[in-house]
Symmetry: C2
């Protein structure tokens, strides 16, 4: 059993050795080279992906052709398009690798079987979704309450490794600002320090 996955699960529910091994069997290991896609808009999202190694991100392209980063997923995080995964409808998101990644994929069918066999995992996913929701609500409120500069500083404090590993224009996209604005903010901060 992957140590990273083990930690992610054990942090929320207590599984026995046996249950852990049972779970492991439902995942599919996959390596994803840099810039390769796990999901493209228009496709159905067949997997929930757990990141063992590397860095992924999900994003949309809006009607004006602008990209908007929804999520970064470094080691230990889960990523997918929940809507498409749940409903089987085509996705409107892209998911690709910013760094070469090692993933554990969980197909819809496999997930249902896993939940049957190891009911505690239902609780695990409930808690996972609940925590994701909490974080997402904070992001929404952050976008409404703070200026671009404040949001950047908060991101830097909360997820320094992501700011460091992802290219700057993607950080800008995540924050909902243009690369130019982020560049100016960084300059301003640097001149203060």
């Amino acid at each position: 059993m992957s140590q990273v996955l083990f930690n992610s699960i054990q942090q929320k529910v207590q599984l026995s050795e046996i249950e852990m091994e049972q779970c492991r069997g439902f995942f599919l290991a996959k390596k994803l080279p840099k810039k390769h896609y796990l999901l493209r808009a228009g496709e159905v999202c067949a997997y929930i992906a757990f990141v063992e190694q590397g860095l992924l991100r999900s994003y949309t392209i809006d009607a004006k052709g602008n990209e908007h980063v929804l999520q970064f997923a470094p080691e230990g995080w889960w990523i997918s398009d929940n809507y498409s995964f749940l409903t089987g409808e085509p996705s409107s998101y892209f998911i690709d690798a910013l760094e070469r990644a090692e993933l554990l994929l969980l197909k819809c069918r496999a997930m249902e079987e896993m939940l049957q066999k190891v009911p505690k995992m239902e609780r695990f996913f409930r808690l996972l979704m609940q925590n994701n929701l909490i974080a997402q609500q904070r992001r929404t409120l952050g976008t409404l309450s703070f200026s671009a500069e404040e949001r950047y500083i908060r991101l830097l404090n909360q997820y320094p490794e992501i700011v460091q590993r992802a290219p700057q224009h993607l950080i800008a996209s995540y924050l909902g600002i243009t690369p130019e604005t982020l560049s100016r903010i960084r300059k301003k901060i640097a001149s203060r320090a």
Copy 2:
């Protein structure tokens, strides 16, 4: 068993008559008059609330003293501060009634007991959280992709009853704009129609 709650649950998982009645026993009925609070910042959020009747909202007050509406919850919706509920930490949200409301409250302890007794409810809450997360992600992307006017029109299309029932300055707060800007947007739209 309340018909509204029954529908909310049955839409996601199939419960037998008996399971439904068992669940019912864990909820606490409560009437909340208009402008009364279910939760104030600083308190621990003891309940997840299901709205049978009426209209609630949750909001924060930021460092500059500005209110930001996180959620409106009309009949059939669930509302709480997940973070505080889950961790027992003090909340930073307020939840109050915009219209006189009838609620079904689920305390933390009662919820755990319910999940023990009716394991399918674990699945229900997983799906509920997952759907909330999907909606919240869309809101985040909406805030990043659309102008104030576009966001207002989208809200109007998606939740016309909320726009109608909540005062305009709270709609503005939800959209992340000032009441003045919303007033101007509405004028502009009216002049076009």
